[in-house]
């Protein structure tokens, strides 16, 4: 095990301020080995969390996390940083609730302030049927001990005064699902925290290392890949690595990586766009989501409004962003908050989402021995990062899928047992 880095604290800050000393690196740039016990493809939140929990919970430290770019450069750095657990299905609720638990203690667990702002989360209902779905979610949530309830328009106004709750609008606000434990997190910090935590255990974080192929032998497909095969390692842009276990944590690129192992996925890749305004004095205290209007919005402590929407309808790997996203977004935000039309959109960006038919992930072992997936996260990957890492690490360590992910196995697509999260998921942030 590596040397513990100096702890971060107010005292340490003062000491460094006075001595003008340098802080050590949060993670190192190690030399790549020729073999590891586990190779995790994708240096985002999921990959790094998996590596951290492998080391921290299971003592498995001969692990490499490889990324073709820099860590956190994919969806982990491009999402809108909302966390919550008020899902629709019992499987979803249990899973995300564990994730929220981990977020709650993360700052102390990782000794890095991830700036969790537990500010509450409102999912607005503009129609009777949306209100019915909110009730459904609230009831399922309550049964699992999740703080979640339906509130009326006047209560919505108290939670977020800038919302227009008058009833003669095109999309009147009839009520909302209110979820007090939800909130926003400084997303990059989570990535850095896990990277630093994994690095402490000598996990190798290999940036600018692109996986070119996954080596499989004995499979039924071309080149010995595919079902029945066994993983032997990966080829990378910096040379080959032999490893008995290879994990795919590559989100939008999941299909491309999985095809290397001969394991097809029920995934299409769509951009998910987001945008941020210039800062202004804080006026929006909570996270606001409208499924009917395809928008979610929160205001950072820096005063910027951060917006997201549903994924683009046309699948593509292109992350240029579109103008119509910003137009529709602005139109819908102003339906909700007509008073903010003078705020300016500062920047738009997009990330890639690995969408599944039932808006639920594909996790765990696959028909290729030693090849595991943690994909299909669609627009939910950030919320799930900690628990995905924890359960995937458990799955790797024990060899069998962890209980919390038993509903998310790849076999459900051949057995026809899809997860029912789609109903609540049109824009679920």
């Amino acid at each position: 095990m590596g040397k513990r880095p100096p702890k971060y604290s107010a005292g340490a800050l003062i000491k460094h301020g006075l001595t003008r000393g340098d802080w050590p690196r949060m993670w190192r740039r190690p030399e790549m080995r020729s073999s590891y016990d586990v190779v995790i493809i994708g240096g985002g939140l999921h990959g790094l969390a998996t590596a951290y929990y492998l080391a921290e919970n299971h003592g498995i430290t001969n692990v490499a996390v490889v990324d073709k770019g820099y860590i956190g450069g994919g969806g982990s750095g491009r999402n809108t940083a909302i966390v919550r657990s008020n899902y629709l299905t019992p499987e979803g609720v249990a899973f995300y609730d564990r994730s929220l638990d981990l977020y709650n203690t993360m700052a102390t667990d990782l000794n890095l302030n991830i700036m969790f702002s537990k500010r509450g989360h409102l999912t607005l209902a503009h129609t009777d049927s949306a209100l019915r779905t909110m009730h459904w979610r609230a009831e399922v949530n309550k049964l699992q001990g999740i703080d979640s309830s339906v509130i009326d328009a006047q209560e919505v106004k108290k939670q977020a005064p800038s919302l227009d709750v008058s009833q003669n609008t095109r999309y009147p606000i009839l009520g909302a699902l209110h979820h007090p434990p939800g909130g926003i997190v400084r997303h990059d910090a989570v990535v850095w925290g896990y990277a630093r935590g994994a690095d402490v255990h000598d996990v190798h974080i290999l940036q600018e290392t692109e996986v070119l192929d996954i080596m499989v032998e004995g499979g039924s497909g071309p080149g010995g890949k595919g079902a029945g095969g066994k993983v032997t390692g990966v080829k990378t842009s910096r040379g080959d690595i032999s490893a008995p276990i290879v994990v795919n944590c590559t989100a939008g690129w999941a299909s491309l990586i999985s095809n290397m192992a001969g394991v097809p996925l029920p995934i299409t890749t769509h951009p998910l766009q987001a945008a941020v305004t210039e800062p202004c004095k804080v006026f929006l205290p909570t996270v606001v989501v409208s499924g009917s209007l395809h928008v979610y919005v929160s205001q950072t402590d820096r005063g910027e409004l951060v917006f997201g929407a549903s994924v683009d309808p046309v699948g593509t790997y292109r992350v240029n962003g579109t103008l119509e996203f910003t137009e529709e977004l602005a139109g819908h935000v102003l339906e909700l908050m007509p008073g903010i039309s003078k705020m300016r959109l500062l920047r738009q960006w997009s990330g890639l989402c690995d969408m599944t038919p039932d808006y639920s992930p594909v996790m765990g072992n696959t028909p290729v021995e030693g090849y595991l997936v943690d994909v299909g996260w669609g627009t939910y990957g950030f919320k799930a990062g900690p628990v995905a890492g924890e359960t995937l690490a458990e799955t790797i360590a024990t060899g069998r899928n962890a209980d919390l992910i038993s509903a998310f196995g790849i076999e459900r697509f051949t057995e026809g047992d899809l997860v029912g999260e789609k109903g609540a998921a049109a824009v679920g942030h």
């Binding site: 604290s9 800050l13 190192r28 956190g72 004095k281 137009e327 003078k342 959109l345 026809g416």
Partner: protein, 950 residues
């Protein structure tokens, strides 16, 4: 104390005007042509605001749109760029980000502890004790920069949009851009020329006499050219795939901002260059300005920027600034030539520069420091087109690398030159742009059905034979021997960046995320190159190895109002909706339709249908006219049940599933003639069903002869329901025998209703009563509706709304797709048992249907009644396993039944609970657990259907 100079030869202010406004409550005047900043500076103000983190005093830096220190509040508009916003009379201008005042700001205390607030400090603290973190957060929030949005009183103003299709769009109205526009227009292209500032001319506007004259001539030629539309005070804000280009037009009569969406054949990018600040200790002190700022202040607005100046110059623009300063009487106490390695080390001063330390060891008294240390090429629009710029160490700036054929660059971002050379390069670019654009236009015209064939020959492809502009050598001067501000809007210093790199944030993107450098309102226009230079220094590599961050749209921020524009959210209205409005109907927005929810008493309306007769407007019901010999084959394919043997004059209920077996839509379809059918489907599903039918007919069964026509709005659908419905219709239907024998349940007839021919009447019963659905050609629908009410007055005929219909259908146990079924509900769940035919050769979703009927674990839809009849469980109330929290189903629909005087429900339950008589536990929203009993039928009222078959 006024800093306004005597008249300057190139000034753009109109001294005959006087515009009064206020600055932090004090009355100030300026002239037409002033920016907010120039007018305030002319009045003698040095300090315009405070910096974000340390609340240091800040003054003019660049005096243009990108000036990070000139963000002000104007009335209810925050974050106004005082450096470019034209002054208007009556503006109420104030500082942002200060408390309590600009002069005395408590936030400035942060300067004292600045050494502890290095980049990312917040990640390293406030973790313990945990309960204090929310309090820290409140403090952090107080430091949010920016102005105040007046959300309480502001409204969404009349913004606006417009589409344009120019052959060539030119971004930038300097000499190169104007040259390009003129040449493209001369060569037959339609041109949209977009200039960010108030007038065409670019840097020529603040140049010498000859430059100004050249600029004026070019501008006049552009404005006079029939093929050129000129937009000033407008910005090209984004370039998206296939040259979809956004332009923000300001200062239009009808809107504060207008979004113009252009599909351009070719875009010519000619934004000129952005001057770069120099990094040294105190470089953000008021009085430290860039050479461009000095020249603009003096030449455009006749504002004297200071009295004793030190100038550091690395280029001709810096030299020109020295000349300008001396011309207007500023004492230039030292000129440091950066080309010889001379530089500024640091400045001192709080509200204004007072002392300047030079690299030769001297310290001079001065109140003005002017730097001219090079350029940033604002390549944003090129980045958006896929270009990744490459650093040229000789010219000390970035140049584009590879551009798609529909993007061309010219002017300063491609190289250096005299006005004539820039214009010439622009003109050559314009000729090439016209050639490419006209070739595209020719293709477009030829491929478009509505156009005539092009009446002109497609031009031959022209090679790019432009003579490149020179790249004049420029010293690489980014940072002095001291540390200073790199990102002025984010308060990020070169020291912060070096520390970040040492902590592992050693790629430009990670460094950006950790330190927030380049993330502020100018999005890196001023900071990117200096940040890359500092990172290169920290990593001890060359600039070329660092790369740059990706510049994302928009090029300049856009108001949400402009992006939204005028909001077009269509609403669909039936031909009777005006009548409903006039008769007190509560409107219900259902998808795009507005419908009558009720007319004041939904329970009474339902009751009236059970006892007398009611009318409901059900026009939103999706309706498709199907004609042809193969319609029955199509119906066999898209419905789960049998259709081949439906007789003429009969209607049948059908359910559709998707290929995955999940219930997708339902409705009744009737056979009007041998080859003529009318299909109905759900209101929300109508569009999808139509597209699905077309897909099958076009893609998979092109040999079938079927024509599908959507007739939803063309037929106004009136359901006449209740025991007196036949009596009523007999009074106004002329040519149809309505007797029970002649017109039995589930039949269709065509006839004349209230004198209106070509009506379709079918006898069906969603409400469970004797009822007829009359489809009337919509131009005559109001007449028929009013006749029905008039003729039915003695029968108690009254309209009823959607809520009464919901009650009635639930009493009758009819399920609603999407409410009583969900995204996983397959045919067995909906209880379609007897209906589904699995022995067809093909039906959509057939393999999944077969598989579903093999299963015994799918939930089942059942009728449910609570044991306490007064309790109406909420829709979505969960059905649980006794006292445990295991979910075994949910209530999907519930209402109090006026007919039965008790609550009635539909529910999806686990198959173990589906048998009639099963007792179930329902968890109410208030936490109570109540028992209920599963019924034998979905229908609570008249399960045998006797009432509708009379």
């Amino acid at each position: 104390m006024s800093n306004r100079l005597t008249a300057q030869p190139g000034e753009i202010i109109d001294r005959s005007t006087s515009l009064s406004f206020t600055w932090n409550g004090k009355a100030v005047t300026g002239h037409q042509g002033d920016t907010i900043a120039s007018a305030i500076a002319a009045s003698g103000v040095d300090v315009f605001g405070r910096s974000m983190k340390y609340h240091r005093k800040r003054g003019i830096l660049t005096a243009d749109h990108w000036d990070p220190n000139l963000f002000v509040q104007v009335g209810d508009e925050p974050n106004v760029r005082a450096g470019s916003r034209r002054l208007e009379a009556g503006m109420v201008v104030s500082t942002q980000n200060v408390w309590p005042s600009l002069e005395f700001d408590l936030g400035a205390a942060n300067q004292l502890v600045g050494r502890f607030l290095s980049s990312g400090f917040y990640y390293k603290t406030f973790m313990r004790p945990k309960f204090l973190w929310p309090l820290y957060q409140k403090v952090l929030k107080k430091f949010a920069p920016g102005g105040r949005i007046h959300w309480e009183t502001s409204t969404h103003d009349a913004y606006d949009k417009r589409y344009v299709h120019p052959d060539v769009l030119v971004a930038g109205g300097g000499p190169a851009g104007m040259g390009a526009a003129l040449a493209a227009a001369d060569n037959g292209a339609s041109v949209l020329l977009v200039e960010q500032y108030g007038d065409l001319g670019g840097h020529l506007l603040w140049g010498d006499d000859a430059q100004r004259a050249q600029g004026a001539d070019l501008a006049a030629a552009c404005r006079a050219h029939a093929n050129i539309e000129v937009l000033v005070d407008s910005t090209v804000t984004g370039r998206y795939d296939h040259n979809w280009i956004s332009v923000m037009q300001r200062s239009h009569d009808i809107a504060p901002e207008r979004l113009i969406k252009a599909r351009a054949g070719v875009m010519v990018v000619a934004p000129g260059l952005v001057e770069r600040p120099y990094v040294f200790a105190g470089n953000d002190t008021p009085g430290v300005i860039l050479s461009g700022a000095a020249r603009r202040l003096i030449n455009l607005w006749a504002v004297k920027p200071g009295n004793r100046a030190v100038v550091m110059s690395a280029n001709a623009d810096g030299d020109a600034a020295v000349a300008d300063l001396e011309r207007v009487g500023v004492e230039v106490v030292a000129v440091l030539d950066a080309r010889k390695g001379e530089s500024i080390v640091s400045v001192e001063g709080k509200s204004r520069v007072s002392k300047v330390a030079l690299s030769d060891g001297r310290t001079l008294n001065a109140d003005l420091v002017v730097t001219a240390t090079g350029w940033t090429a604002p390549t944003s629009l090129l980045n958006m087109a896929g270009d990744r710029p490459v650093y040229d160490a000789t010219a000390a700036r970035y140049f584009s690398n590879s551009l798609p054929s529909n993007i061309l660059a010219t002017g300063g971002i491609t190289g250096d030159g005299s006005t004539a050379e820039l214009e010439a390069h622009g003109r050559a670019t314009g000729v090439l742009a016209a050639n490419r654009a006209l070739r595209r236009r020719h293709d477009r015209v030829a491929q478009t059905a509505r156009s005539n064939d092009p009446a002109w020959d497609k031009p031959a492809e022209m090679a790019d034979s432009r003579t490149p502009l020179n790249r004049v050598p420029h010293p690489e001067c980014y940072r002095s021997t001291t540390h200073g501000m790199v990102d002025f809007s984010e308060d990020v210093s070169s020291k912060d960046l070096i520390q970040a790199s040492k902590e592992g944030f050693d790629s430009i993107e990670l460094m950006k995320r950790y330190t927030t450098v380049t993330m502020g309102p100018s999005q890196g226009k001023l900071e990117t190159v200096n940040a890359a230079a500092v990172l290169a220094e920290a990593n001890q590599v060359s600039m070329a190895e660092i790369g740059t961050t990706v510049w994302r749209p928009p090029f300049a921020p856009i108001t949400l109002g402009a992006l939204a524009g005028r909001i077009h959210e269509p609403v669909r209205r039936s031909a009777l909706q005006d009548w409903h409005d006039a008769h007190g109907a509560a409107p219900l927005l259902a998808g795009q339709w507005v419908r009558p929810d009720h007319y004041g008493d939904p329970m009474g309306e339902a009751d009236n249908v059970r006892n007398n007769v009611g009318l409901i407007d059900v026009t939103p019901l999706g309706k498709l006219d199907l004609r042809g010999p193969d319609v029955s084959k199509l119906l066999e394919l898209v419905y789960v049940n049998k259709w081949s043997k439906l007789d003429i004059g009969r209607v049948r209920y059908g359910t559709m599933v998707a290929e995955d077996g999940v219930v997708s839509d339902d409705g009744v379809t009737g056979r009007l003639g041998e080859y003529h059918w009318l299909m109905t489907c759900t209101s929300s599903g109508a569009g999808a069903v139509w597209e699905m039918l077309e897909d099958w007919l076009q893609t998979y069964r092109p040999e079938w002869q079927v024509h599908v026509t959507a007739v939803t709005g063309g037929l106004t659908s009136i359901n006449v329901a209740g025991p007196h419905s036949r009596t009523l219709l007999e009074r106004i239907v002329e040519d149809v025998d309505l007797s029970a024998d002649a017109f039995p349940y589930f039949s269709v007839r065509q006839g004349t209703v209230a004198g209106v021919s070509d009506c379709i009447i079918w006898r069906i019963g969603f409400t469970g009563e004797l009822s007829y659905e009359v489809h009337v050609p919509s131009g005559h629908a109001l007449h028929v509706w009013e006749e029905l009410l008039a003729q039915g007055e003695d029968l108690g005929c009254r309209p009823f709304g959607v809520e009464a219909q919901r009650i009635l259908r639930l009493e009758k146990g009819h399920y609603i797709v999407g409410q009583d079924t969900d995204g996983l509900s397959k045919a067995p769940t909906a209880g379609l048992g007897g209906l589904v035919k699995l022995d067809k050769p093909d039906t959509i979703g057939l393999p999944e249907l077969k598989a579903a009927y093999e299963r015994t674990d799918l939930p089942i839809l059942v009728g449910v009644q609570t044991d306490d009849p007064e309790i109406v469980p909420e829709e979505a109330a969960q059905i649980v396993d006794g006292g445990s929290n295991t979910i075994l189903g949910r209530i999907t629909s519930s209402r109090m039944s006026p007919t039965l005087g008790r609550s009635v429900c539909l529910a999806q339950v686990d198959p173990s609970l589906a048998a009639a008589g099963s007792s179930i536990t329902v968890l109410l929203a208030d936490g109570r657990r109540v028992t209920a009993t599963v019924q034998e039928h979905h229908a609570h009222v008249d399960p045998e259907g006797a009432r509708q078959r009379v």
